[in-house]
């Protein structure tokens, strides 16, 4: 018992010293606020979302690429349709019908490749989260996979 109290005293001393000594500041960490306490940065563009995709680098063509559509469908079957129906009906996440009309292609691409950041920042994504209560998982889509899924979504919305 005596030993324990001595140990405690010494441990307190160590903590006290560490807090009051400027030389020890580094080991106390940089005091960054947790993410959720950070206000939305003004730079966020709700039309585009946040991520690498822009109108330019998505490069939509007049006509759909049928190979991409087919590949997008098969990737969706593995990675997406467990939670999303192709109709407007909500399953775990919202139905896909009309998504390409509601959101810009770059928003969709950024959302599916960068969901964590978007869910934290995007007002529309946050509204969906309140509805669905499940954060969309990051399914680790490659650039090509994401592009193919977009093509399939466009097809699903009636594009030719």
């Amino acid at each position: 018992m005596k030993k324990i109290s001595i140990l405690a005293a010494i441990a307190f001393l160590a903590i006290f010293e560490a807090c009051s000594s400027p030389a020890k500041e580094e080991s106390n960490g940089s005091h960054e606020a947790p993410k959720s306490m950070v206000a939305d940065p003004p730079s966020y563009d709700p039309d585009r979302g946040e991520g690498k995709w822009t109108e330019e680098n998505i490069n939509l063509k007049e006509e759909l690429n049928p190979e991409w559509v087919a590949s997008g469908e098969s990737i969706s079957n593995t990675k997406c349709t467990s939670c999303h129906k192709l109709t407007a009906e909500k399953l775990v996440g919202p139905g896909w019908e009309g998504v390409t009309k509601r959101r810009k292609p770059e928003w969709i691409m950024n959302f599916i490749t960068n969901p964590d950041v978007m869910i934290d920042k995007d007002p529309e994504a946050q509204a969906m989260l309140e509805l669905c209560l499940v954060r969309m998982p990051n399914q680790n889509l490659s650039d090509g996979e994401a592009r193919n899924i977009l093509e399939f979504m466009l097809k699903n919305d009636g594009a030719k």
């Binding site: 005293a9 441990a11 998982p137």
Partner: protein, 664 residues
């Protein structure tokens, strides 16, 4: 509050200064003021090093972060592990296969990191199963056991696994000698001297894939091989094994194996052995041992039974093995970073002998022999000795080294660590441990370029250290800062099982290579379900295969009917998530076997044999999302004679698909 703190701090100061005047007698007194700040790793910050520590009698390998002492992971190796489904899922059961059948629990003692040019390279860690002799390789990309090889002609696989400086071989000596596996073992135990042999196993390691192969064994005199170290630098090409019970006693060893004034450290020229094997001098011996491998692509293990091993007889090759006399029951035989010095730790000796590799070579050339032990030349003690550390402590066990030419030896009986200089053999410092220290580990201390900085002691007894927990207390590790002249204890933390031995490595060598998910498109498990559209239930006679998917927050299917008593049901669950750190669990009521924990992109199988009629719920056991509670389903079990068709569904109460019965 602030006042209180100051009072306590001042009190602490007085207490601390009071103790400075006297030599610390216990570890609580050895802690000085700045210890806490040296081990404090702020939330969100990473530790500096990984520490791989054996889990002793738990059969597992634990991973701690240093200097914080945070437990990062327990990696299942030689024993079933309910936390990870290891040995429970159909895919992992073969990993625990041996020539005796499935082994559910073993004893893991030593840990060694793979090396390139004598330094830890962060690719694999090798560990030994002591009881039913095995060596395992753990892949540090996934922190999973990738391979386990059983060792024939071996018992009490203690002097393993020890590696050469480029991971050419991992060796395993037998602690308990005995008749070879293919000999008639039905002999009197008292015929030890005639019939018992000791085998050293040399397992080769694939350069790229790490694949293990039992390359050859050396048949040696029947003694107890306790520990081993490979030579390095100048002594690369040699292995050193400590031998006790050179008396070849077979009863009351604590007395009868302590009769000789000197036992031996056996030096083995493994490059020579390799030459003899290449020249076809090895004799084939028929044996039986299991070799198990786990694939990250099929997410399953295979077990192969092998039946042959090449054996060299130490008696037939006089330039293969040499005995160096070492006082009283040597335990550790540790090689310094240069490879020149070999420290023999005679557990019962009052001195600590340090052998010189150069002198050993000269003694061999000069034939400076002191007799023959069971066909092996014994070198003269004086002609191989660099010198002795006099009166270092009681019960020396293990030695590791820092970057400044110092050695650190653990003393079990006097519960202390002693620092001494390798060249001039003077004792420089000593610190107490609480209590009964076994192995110690210095960061990089077994490599060619030690990092020094930290030393960790692995203690067997923990009395008075932590809040009591009934008759058993956890064992413990104690971390020392060795960057200065004096060793300073900075942390004391509990460990799992017996923290027998451990190794440290800089964190970035490992963290950068981590596998975060298994890519679903690369999943080649024969029962994979790549998307809900492929989920199904298939009957094959009395076996029912459920191809099931899991994603936040449901299974597909979640309703199954048409299972009958007498069926064996296999749930092949594929986790469709492709996100780091999102496993799903799977449990079903009444499963006498187990549950599953399935990593992102992985397929894992649970075998379930229902034992009664009724509705049986199943659910996810890993809290995966806000709707985790909803991640569940039902299975209907009907009598054996029932006509309920096999059917399954998700999202509808009307059966969507009915699979045809597959008749045999």
């Amino acid at each position: 509050m602030k006042n209180n703190l100051i009072t306590i701090a001042v009190g602490g100061l007085i207490v601390a200064s009071a103790f400075q005047s006297c030599k610390p007698k216990s570890t609580s007194q050895a802690v000085t003021g700045d210890a806490a700040s040296k081990v404090y790793v702020a939330p969100g910050k990473y530790d500096e090093m990984y520490n791989f520590v054996s889990g002793g009698f738990s059969g597992q390998l634990s991973v701690y972060g240093l200097p914080s002492g945070r437990l990062l992971r327990v990696i299942p190796v030689f024993a079933v592990d309910p936390e990870k489904g290891w040995g429970y899922s159909e895919e992992t059961k073969p990993m625990l296969n041996t020539s005796h059948g499935i082994m559910q629990w073993d004893d893991l003692h030593h840990v060694q990191l793979s090396k390139t040019n004598g330094d830890a390279d962060g690719r694999w860690v090798f560990v030994n199963g002591n009881n039913t002799p095995r060596v395992a390789r753990v892949d540090l990309k996934t922190f999973r056991t990738a391979e386990i090889i059983e060792l024939p002609n071996s018992s009490g696989n203690h002097s393993s696994p020890f590696l050469t400086e480029n991971t050419e071989y991992v060796v395993a000596g037998t602690r308990f000698s005995g008749p070879s596996d293919n000999a008639n073992g039905d002999v009197p135990i008292s015929s030890y001297k005639q019939n018992f042999k000791g085998y050293l196993s040399f397992i080769s390691i694939g350069k790229e894939d790490g694949k293990m192969d039992l390359a050859f064994q050396i048949e040696c005199p029947g003694v107890n091989f306790d520990l081993s170290r490979a030579g390095k630098g100048v002594s690369h090409g040699w292995f050193f094994f400590s031998c006790y019970n050179t008396e070849q006693a077979n009863t009351l060893l604590e007395v009868n194996a302590s009769q000789n004034d000197k036992d031996y450290v056996m030096a083995v020229n493994w490059k020579k052995a390799e030459e003899y094997i290449k020249a076809g001098k090895g004799k084939k011996m028929s044996v039986k041992y299991a070799h198990n491998t786990y694939s990250d692509i099929t997410h399953s293990a295979t077990s192969e039974m092998k039946t042959e091993v090449l054996v060299l007889d130490s008696k037939e090759f006089t330039d293969l093995c040499y005995m160096m006399p070492c006082p009283k029951s040597p335990h550790g035989c540790d090689v310094d970073p240069t490879g020149e010095y070999i420290v023999g730790s005679g557990k019962l000796a009052a001195t600590l002998p340090v052998f010189s590799f150069t002198k050993m070579q000269k003694a061999i050339a000069d034939k400076s022999f002191d007799g023959i032990y069971d066909g092996i030349n014994v070198l003269k003690y004086e002609s191989v000795l660099h010198g002795e550390v006099k009166k270092p402590g009681l019960g020396p066990l293990h030695t590791e080294f820092d970057a400044k030419g110092n050695a650190y030896t653990s003393f079990f009986v006097s519960s202390e660590i002693v620092k001494w200089n390798v060249k001039d053999l003077t004792v420089l410092d000593r610190v107490p441990t609480f209590y009964s220290v076994g192995h110690l580990c210095v960061a990089g201390g077994d490599s060619r370029n030690p990092i020094g900085k930290y030393l960790i002691a692995y203690n067997k007894i923990t009395k008075d250290r932590y809040l009591p927990t009934g008759p058993e207390l956890s064992q413990s590790a104690q971390l020392f800062d060795i960057s200065g002249d004096k060793m300073q204890m900075i942390l004391d933390f509990p460990t799992i099982g017996e923290p027998h031995y451990g190794q440290m490595i800089m964190a970035d060598k490992i963290s950068k290579n981590q596998v975060k998910i298994f890519k679903i498109e690369e999943n080649k498990n024969p029962y994979v379900t790549k998307g809900e559209g492929e989920s199904k239930v298939v009957r094959e006679g009395n076996k029912v295969h459920v191809y099931m998917t899991a994603i936040r927050s449901h299974f597909s299917p979640d309703n199954i009917e048409g299972i009958k008593l007498g069926d064996e049901v296999y749930f092949h669950v594929t986790n469709l998530e492709q996100d780091w750190d999102v496993p799903h669990g799977f449990a079903i009521k009444g499963s006498t076997n187990a549950e599953l924990l399935i990593m992102p992109g992985e397929t894992s199988t649970l075998k379930w044999v229902p034992d009664r009629v009724g509705i049986v719920p199943m659910y996810c056991t890993d809290f995966c999302s806000a709707l985790h509670q909803e991640m569940s389903g039902y299975v209907r079990v009907s009598p054996a004679t029932s006509k309920v068709p096999l059917q399954f569904s998700l999202g509808t109460n009307i059966p969507k698909v009915i699979t045809a019965e597959v008749t045999k």
